[in-house]
C-alpha cells in the first residue's frame, strides 16, 4: 500500500480502492465541518436568551448541519466502504464502470464544495433547513443566491448518486466471480445492493423537485409559489426521496453490523436467509411510508390511515433484524473489540430510535410531536446513532484491510466509552423537550427548557470528543508503522479470505458455510470430551 504519494495519480485514479479511500476521506472531512456546526448549535442553545449566534446565522448552520450530515457524510461514507469492499467480496476486478465511478466521486466532492460555498454567495447562505420546505424556498421569502446555489448543488449530488448506484447495481448483477451466487453473496454486499436500489428510486424524484425549484428561482416559473402546486407538491416530491433516504443511510450500517457480529462472535448470523428477506422488506416498505412526514399538512384521511399502517409495519422487519443480530451473539465465542462495541451501541440506539419512531407513526401522537425536539431526538438516535456508529464499526473493522495497520485498541475503547456517554447525554434529554420547537435559535428562561438544554450541550461536547478521538485513532495508526496480518480478525468472509472457490469447485466458503461446519466439528469434539 505504501507508495510514493502522488497527487496526480490520486486525482486521475479510476481504481475502486483508491476511490473508496477518497470517498471516506472526503466524507470524514465533511463530517468534521458538520460536526463543528453541530457544536456551534449546541453552544448557542446551552443557555436561554443566548446571543452567541444571530437567528440568520443559526438558521444557516442548521441547514448546513442537516444537509452535510445526511447527504455528504453518512451516505458517502457507506458508499466509500462499499467501493472498497464490495468488489473484493464478490471477486470483481473493479466496479463495472471505473471511470463513471471516478466521475461520481468528483461530482459528489464538488457538489459539497458548492454547497459550502453557498454560504459566501451574495445575500447569504441557505437558511431553509435541509428540507427546503415550500414556500420558504421561493424567491419571495428567501431571495438570497445561496439558496439557489444549494439547490443546484443538491441536484448535482443527485446526479452523482444516480451514476454511482447504476454502477453498483450493474457490478453486483454482472461482475460476481464464479461461485459467488446470490445465496452466497456476503450480507454487506446484499445491503449495498438494496441501498443502491433505493437510491436509484429515491434520488431522481428529488432531482425532479430540485430542477423545478431551480426553474422557479432562476426562470420565474410558479410551481412552489402557487396554491395549486405549492407546499404540498414540494412535500410529496421531497419526502418521496426523504424517507427512503433514511434507510439508504441505515442499510449499509446494518450490513456492517451483521458482518462485524458474525466475525467477532465467531458464529454465523442467525437465520441468514430470513435476515436478507427482512432487509428486502425494509427496502420495499421504506418506499411506501413517505406521507408520515406530512400527517399534519391536512392530507386526506385515507392516506393518513394507509401510511400510518405502513409506517408501523416497517418496524416489524426491523425488530426481526435487531433480534437476529442479538441472537447471533448467543453461544458465540465473543471477542470484545472496538468494531463489535460500536456495533452493539448501534443496536442499542436503533432500539431506542425505532421505539420512539413507532410512536410517531400514530397520526394522533404525530400531531403532538411534529416539529419538536422529540423528533430531533428520534432521528438522531437513528442517524447519528445507528448509522454513524455502524459505519464507524465498519471503518474500524476494515481498517486493517484498507491500510494494513492495526489501530490502538485501548484508544478505540476510550472513544467508544466517550461516545456512549456523550451520545446519550446529548440526545436523551431531547425526549423531555417536547415543548421546544425545532430550528428556533433560542428560548426564554421561563419556558423551563434550560436544564435539559444545558445537559444536552455538555453531552454534545463529550460526543464530539469521542467521535473525533475515534477518527483520530485511525489516523494515528496510519502514521505509525504497525502492520497487521492479512486477516487479523480471523474472519471467514470473502474479502479477507479471497476464497471464492472454496474447497469444492465452484463453491465459495462463506461465513455461513464454514462456520457452521466448524461449529458442528466443535460440537462433536465436545461430545467426544463428554464421552471420555
Amino acid at each position: 500500500m505504501i507508495k510514493r504519494f502522488s497527487i496526480k495519480e490520486w486525482l486521475s485514479t479510476t481504481n475502486h480502492k483508491r476511490i473508496g479511500i477518497l470517498y471516506i476521506v472526503a466524507s470524514i472531512t465533511f463530517m468534521g465541518i458538520a460536526g463543528v456546526f453541530g457544536a456551534l448549535m449546541r453552544t448557542q442553545l446551552a443557555t436561554p436568551n443566548e446571543l452567541f449566534l444571530d437567528p440568520f446565522s443559526y438558521d444557516q448552520i442548521v441547514t448546513f448541519h442537516g444537509l452535510l450530515m445526511i447527504l455528504w457524510v453518512l451516505s458517502p461514507l457507506g458508499v466509500g466502504l462499499a467501493n472498497y469492499i464490495v468488489p473484493l467480496q464478490i471477486g470483481a476486478k473493479d466496479l463495472a464502470f471505473p471511470r463513471l465511478n471516478a466521475l461520481s466521486f468528483f461530482t459528489f466532492a464538488f457538489s459539497g464544495i458548492l454547497l459550502l460555498g453557498s454560504a459566501f454567495a451574495p445575500g447569504g447562505g441557505p437558511d431553509v433547513g435541509w428540507t427546503f420546505y415550500a414556500p420558504l424556498n421561493t424567491m419571495q421569502f428567501t431571495p438570497q443566491t445561496g439558496v439557489t446555489l444549494a439547490v443546484l448543488a443538491f441536484a448535482l449530488l443527485a446526479g452523482s448518486v444516480t451514476i454511482s448506484s447504476v454502477n453498483f447495481i450493474t457490478t453486483i448483477l454482472k461482475s460476481r466471480t464464479k461461485g459467488v451466487t446470490w445465496r452466497r453473496m456476503p450480507i454487506f454486499t446484499w445491503s449495498v445492493l438494496m441501498t443502491n436500489v433505493l437510491m436509484l428510486f429515491a434520488f431522481p424524484t428529488v432531482a425532479a423537485g430540485m430542477l423545478l425549484l431551480s426553474f422557479d428561482r432562476i426562470l420565474g416559473s410558479v410551481f412552489f409559489s402557487s396554491i395549486e402546486g405549492g407546499s404540498i407538491l414540494w412535500d410529496q416530491l421531497f419526502w418521496f426521496f426523504g424517507h427512503p433516504e433514511v434507510y439508504i443511510l441505515v442499510l449499509p450500517a446494518i450490513g456492517i453490523m451483521a458482518e462485524v457480529i458474525q466475525t467477532f462472535a465467531r458464529r454465523p448470523l442467525f437465520a441468514r436467509t430470513v435476515f436478507l428477506i427482512e432487509l428486502g422488506l425494509v427496502a420495499i416498505l421504506s418506499q411506501l411510508v413517505w406521507v408520515h412526514h406530512m400527517f399534519t399538512t391536512g392530507v386526506n384521511y385515507n392516506l393518513l390511515e394507509t401510511f400510518a399502517i405502513t409506517s408501523m409495519a416497517i418496524s416489524v422487519p426491523f425488530e426481526g433484524i435487531v433480534i437476529q443480530l442479538v441472537i447471533s451473539l448467543r453461544k458465540g465465542r465473543i471477542k470484545v473489540s472496538t468494531p463489535l462495541l460500536f456495533s452493539l451501541l448501534a443496536i442499542f440506539t436503533v432500539v431506542l430510535g425505532g421505539l420512539t419512531g413507532v410512536l410517531q407513526a400514530f397520526p394522533v401522537l404525530d400531531y403532538v410531536f411534529r416539529g419538536t425536539y422529540w423528533v430531533v431526538g428520534h432521528f438522531h438516535y437513528v442517524m447519528a446513532g445507528t448509522t454513524l456508529f455502524g459505519l464507524l464499526a465498519g471503518l474500524y473493522y476494515w481498517w486493517p484491510k484498507i491500510t494494513g495497520r492495526t489501530y490502538n485498541e485501548r484508544v478505540g475503547i476510550i472513544s467508544f466509552i466517550l461516545s456512549v456517554i456523550g451520545f446519550n447525554v446529548l440526545y436523551f434529554p431531547y425526549f423531555f423537550l417536547i415543548d421546544m420547537p425545532r430550528r428556533v435559535s433560542t428560548y426564554t428562561f421561563s419556558s423551563g427548557l434550560a436544564p435539559q438544554n444545558f445537559v444536552a450541550t455538555i453531552g454534545a461536547f463529550v460526543f464530539f470528543a469521542g467521535s473525533a478521538l475515534a477518527v483520530l485513532n485511525l489516523v494515528w495508526s496510519y502514521r505509525r508503522n504497525v502492520t497487521s496480518s492479512s486477516n487479523p480478525w480471523d474472519s471467514k468472509e470473502l474479502e479477507w479470505t479471497k476464497n471464492y472457490t472454496g474447497n469444492l469447485p465452484g463453491t465459495p466458503e462463506t461465513v455461513a458455510h464454514s462456520q457452521r461446519l466448524s461449529e458442528r466439528q466443535g460440537q462433536s469434539s465436545q461430545e467426544d470430551d463428554r464421552a471420555k
Binding site: 448506484s165 454482472k174 424524484t205 402546486g229 407538491l233 416530491l237
Partner: protein
C-alpha cells in the same frame, strides 16, 4: 508492489475530475455569475471531446469470463447499466409527470390544450422524433447485417431528425408562444409546459451528442456485425426519450 502500482495506473484518466469541475463551474454560472456559464460549457465540451477520443481509440474489452451472472447471462454489462439508468430516468420523468397531474388535479381552471398550443406543429414534431427512433433501429439492423453504408446513413438521419425536433421547438414553437404571452412565469399551465418540455429537450440534446459520437465511430468503420453494442445502448436511451415525448405530446397538445 510495482505490479499493483501499474495495475492501479492502468485506465487512469483526468477526465472525470475535469468533467465534474466543468459541471460545477456551469452551476456557479447559472446561480451566481453568468459569464462562468461560458467557461463551464467550454470545459465540459472539451472534456467530452477527450472522452469521445479515448472511446474511439479503445478496443472492445472482452468479457472477463468465469462470472456468476444469473439471471443476466445473455445481457452484457453496458446494456445492463443502460437499463438500470433508464429506471432512474423513468423516476425522474415520473416525478415530473406526477407533479403535472397533481397541479392539474388541484387547479380549478385549466385551459384547453388547443388554446395555447399548435397541435399541427406538435404532430409534426412527434412524427420527426418517431422517425428518428426508426432510424436508430435501422442503424442497428444495418450494423448487424454488415451494411456499413446503411449504418452511416441511418445514424446521420437519426441525428438530423433529432436536431430538426429541437429546431422546431426552440426556433419556431417557443418564440411563437412567447410572442402570444405564453411565458414561463405567467401561470401553472405555462410553467409545467416549459419545465417538462424543456427537461425533455435537454434529454434530446444529450441524445444528439451521443448519436454524433456513434456517427464518428461509424464513419471510422468501427461498427461491425459483432461489435455494435454502442448503437443498441444509445438506441435504448433514444427510444426512451421518444416514449417520454409521447406522454408529453398527449398531456400538452391533446388533453
Amino acid at each position: 508492489m510495482t505490479k499493483e502500482n501499474e495495475e492501479s495506473k492502468r485506465g487512469n484518466s483526468f477526465m472525470p475530475i475535469v468533467l465534474a469541475g466543468g459541471i460545477s463551474i456551469l452551476i456557479l454560472g447559472v446561480a451566481v455569475f453568468a459569464p462562468l456559464l461560458v467557461v463551464g460549457f467550454i470545459i465540459v465540451l472539451l472534456a467530452l471531446l477527450k472522452v469521445f477520443k479515448a472511446g474511439l481509440e479503445e478496443k472492445y474489452s472482452k468479457s472477463e469470463g468465469n462470472l456468476e451472472e444469473y439471471p443476466l447471462e445473455k445481457v452484457d454489462k453496458e446494456k445492463t447499466g443502460m437499463w438500470v439508468f433508464l429506471v432512474s430516468e423513468i423516476l425522474l420523468f415520473g416525478g415530473l409527470l406526477t407533479s403535472y397531474a397533481f397541479i392539474r388535479a388541484n387547479s380549478t381552471y385549466w385551459p384547453n390544450a388547443l388554446e395555447n398550443h399548435n397541435v399541427v406543429i406538435g404532430t409534426i414534431n412527434t412524427i420527426v422524433l418517431l422517425t428518428s427512433s426508426l432510424a436508430m433501429v435501422l442503424a442497428l439492423n444495418s450494423a448487424r447485417t454488415g451494411n456499413t453504408t446503411g449504418t452511416k446513413i441511418a445514424l446521420a438521419s437519426a441525428f438530423i431528425l433529432g436536431i430538426v425536433f429541437l429546431g422546431i421547438k426552440l426556433g419556431f414553437e417557443w418564440p411563437d408562444e412567447y410572442r402570444r404571452g405564453f411565458t414561463i412565469s405567467s401561470g401553472l399551465p405555462e410553467s409545467t409546459y416549459y419545465a417538462l418540455v424543456g427537461i425533455h429537450g435537454m434529454h434530446v440534446a444529450i441524445g444528439c451528442v451521443a448519436i454524433t459520437y456513434l456517427l464518428i465511430r461509424a464513419l471510422k468503420g468501427q461498427f461491425t456485425k459483432t461489435k455494435n453494442t454502442g448503437i443498441e445502448n444509445v438506441g435504448l436511451y433514444w427510444h426512451f426519450v421518444d416514449i417520454v415525448w409521447m406522454f408529453l405530446f398527449t398531456i400538452f397538445y391533446l388533453l
